[in-house]
């Protein structure tokens, strides 16, 4: 056996051993934080307003298992999310992606705030100007009217 083959063999053994060690030690090589992060973005399908991360339901726990398995199989978090969207539609995402028609959901509240502020500013400006400038002068009561009021008051008392 030549030296080169020996060296190659040694390298192979070392590589095999390290990869075996990595595999054995990482029986769950999946980062639980990543599983959690993906699960928080998915809607629990059997609940109302709960994410897959927060729901105690069996369906949600099975979904967390599926997330873990897909990550373990080497999928990226984006691919795992894509898998769920393919099956359930965008409905499964707790926050709709910021594009297309969905942008309305993100932009309308902002637009409403801008419009509201503008309306409030206009009204405040108008009110403050009306009270300062164009306060209507008290209507002049003519002599006949004041005479009549005086007489009626006297009659009352």
């Amino acid at each position: 056996m030549s030296r080169v083959t020996l060296a190659l063999l040694a390298t192979l053994i070392v590589l095999g051993a390290t990869s075996f060690a990595a595999g054995a030690q990482g029986a769950s090589p999946v980062n639980e934080q990543t599983v959690y992060d993906i699960a928080t973005q998915l809607r629990c399908v059997v609940c109302q307003n709960l994410s897959v991360a927060d729901s105690p339901s069996e369906m949600a726990s099975q979904m967390r298992g599926i997330i873990r398995e897909r990550l373990a199989a080497g999928e990226s978090p984006a691919q795992v999310q894509r898998y769920f969207v393919d099956r359930y539609g965008e409905w499964i995402l707790l926050s709709p992606p910021r594009r297309g028609f969905n942008l309305l959901v993100w932009l309308l509240p902002l637009a409403a705030v801008v419009v509201g502020l503008a309306a409030a500013a206009t009204l405040i400006w108008r009110w403050s100007h009306r009270t300062r400038g164009a306060r209507p002068a008290p209507a002049a009561v003519d002599a006949a009217m004041s005479e009549r009021i005086r007489r009626e008051l006297e009659r009352e008392s």
Partner: protein, 178 residues
Amino acid sequence: MKRLWRWLIPLAAIPVLALLAYGFRVSPRDIPSPLVGRPAPAFVLATLEGAPLSLESHRGKVVVVNFWASWCYPACYEEAPVLERNWRGYRERGVVVMGLDIQDKRDAAQKFVGDFGLTFPVAQDLKGTVSVDYGVYGVPETFFVDRQGRIRVKHVGAVTDDVFKTTVDRLLTEPATP
């Protein structure tokens, strides 16, 4: 200017009312499945008797994939006799009914099958992988797969004789190859 404002405020309410009118008419429970029209996800499970059950082995037939659970009362209890009756009526004509039991205990599933005398193949989807592959929200949900292996109809809730017959009859008239 004053007149314009008097009209503008009620007019601004119209889009909001239209949105509400639309929103309240749509049932939050019917969510369109993106899978309708797409190839039915393949699966291999073991039936309660231990025989392999796969969709692939029934290619060319109309397959009715029914997701159920023994705790799903009353809908699953209503549809079990319907599925059994129609399976018996259609099995000679190239129709397969398969029951996939989800989130359930084996004993409870076996009791359910026994109580209703179900003779079509029933398997448990223990890890929920098949139900998520089919985008199942709850039980019962039934997928009608055509002879080319595509999901054509997703039925949420108990299957009735009428739904079964009209859907399966329509799919049977279609050819097995495109």
